[in-house]
Amino acid sequence: MAEDRFDAIIVGGGLAGIAAAYRLAQEGLEVLVVERGNTCGSKNMTGGRLYTHTLEKLIPDLLQRAPLERRIVKERFSLLTPSSGTTIEVDSAKLGGLYANSYSVLRAPFDRWLADEAEAAGVMFVCGVLVDDLIIRDGRVCGIIAGEEEMEADVVILAEGVNAQLAQKAGLREELQPDQVEVGAKEVLSLDQAVLEDRFHLAPGEGIAWIIRGEDAFGPGANGFLYTNKDTISLGVVTEIGKIPSAQHSMVELVDLLKEHPVVAPLIAGSKTVEYSAHLLPCGQGAILPRLCGDGVLLAGDAAGLAINLGYVVRGMDLAVESGLLCAETVLKCHETGDFSRDALSSYETAIQNSFIPRDMERCGSYAAQLGNKALYDDPAKLIDVLTAVMQG
């Protein structure tokens, strides 16, 4: 066996992967993260809102040090028709509890910072390397293959995101179907900081999270989002892939329609597009896969289907971090006994079941029914409570 054998190899230096690696390195394990981007974060995009509760467990002074864009103090929810719209806004007084802390983020700088932190804690990173395949012997995952290189470890954590092709190779998931995923396309628009704060009525450091129901304006399944960053705006459209063919507009057109819509256009006037990105995200309430581990292998984050996306709530980043941390706890236990069989690793599945993840997935799923209940609209106080809960995710 080669000397460069690791305790754990983590495929994917996104939030799930870095969190898992960081936690393992804190306990002195030899861990390697292999990331296909030239830096961590360079292949990643998100809508914009990170609930920090899970990362704060790992980095207690996160809020003081991390490159967070703006603290979310206002929530907006709009319903658009083709030519107009109606908007509900809730502000900070209603925000609280476990999810009180949320911030807009941009993944390229954010993931890179987190990776630097993890590296300082002892994690080894190899960036700019695509993992092509897994080493599988007698049904047990023993390591990874990247080009000509092969590397082995006691356990491989697949934190490769939504296009989980290695998880398919490990026999833990099937290819995605068009009704299981949405595609999001986003522009980052730069805008003078003072102008931005003035337009959205924000104090320095404060931000807004804005979910836009666009189905009535743009066609079935098309929704929008807007998050304010320091001196940029993240604006994008999310659509169920299976619905695009029957929709009126192409994905490329939808982004422009949102930008030109009378409710949105005045707020981005004079801004300049600086980047255009696209990414898949699981749709609906998400479905936790029946199996999150096999012999020598664990799945975390989007690769494990751990995300909530109901149009009006999109949460995957804090779930990714939590699942990464829970992977690490299981690996630490197995490291003691030296047993990395599926049976031993399945304590991870139990830990996920006992975490906030399935509870929140279910709770957010129930909002759809609540919002559809007409009686709710006769009771403004209840309506505000439900909307606040919905907007907070």
Binding site: T46, T232, T273, Y276, S277, H279, L280
Partner: protein, 95 residues
């Protein structure tokens, strides 16, 4: 503000493209025109194009590596889909 084309938008991104090898293998002769149109409409980078004669062209330069075309038409219009080789492809500066 003059309206930007999708090419303008992609032009703002940082790519390190592999000019020679496409990471996506497209069946340009695929017969089901409806299927081809689906893919053209879905790609957020507008890389699948039908010309006036209904002929499909595809350009892997500008690919955002989202996977939409694979999920929608894997095994049909999209014969093979991989991430670009190590070190190549999109590099988001914002993300």
């Amino acid at each position: 503000m003059a309206k930007m084309t999708i090419e303008d938008k992609l032009g703002l991104n940082k790519f390190n493209t592999n000019e020679l090898n496409s990471h996506i293998d497209v069946d340009k002769e695929y017969l089901d025109k409806q299927e081809v149109e689906r893919v053209c409409r879905a790609c957020p980078a507008g890389l699948y194009k039908l010309d006036a004669e209904g002929k499909l062209s595809f350009d892997h330069l500008g690919c955002l590596e989202c996977g939409t075309c694979r999920v929608l038409s894997g095994g049909k219009v999209v014969k093979g889909w991989h991430y670009p080789q190590s070190g190549y492809g999109i590099s988001f500066r914002m993300g």
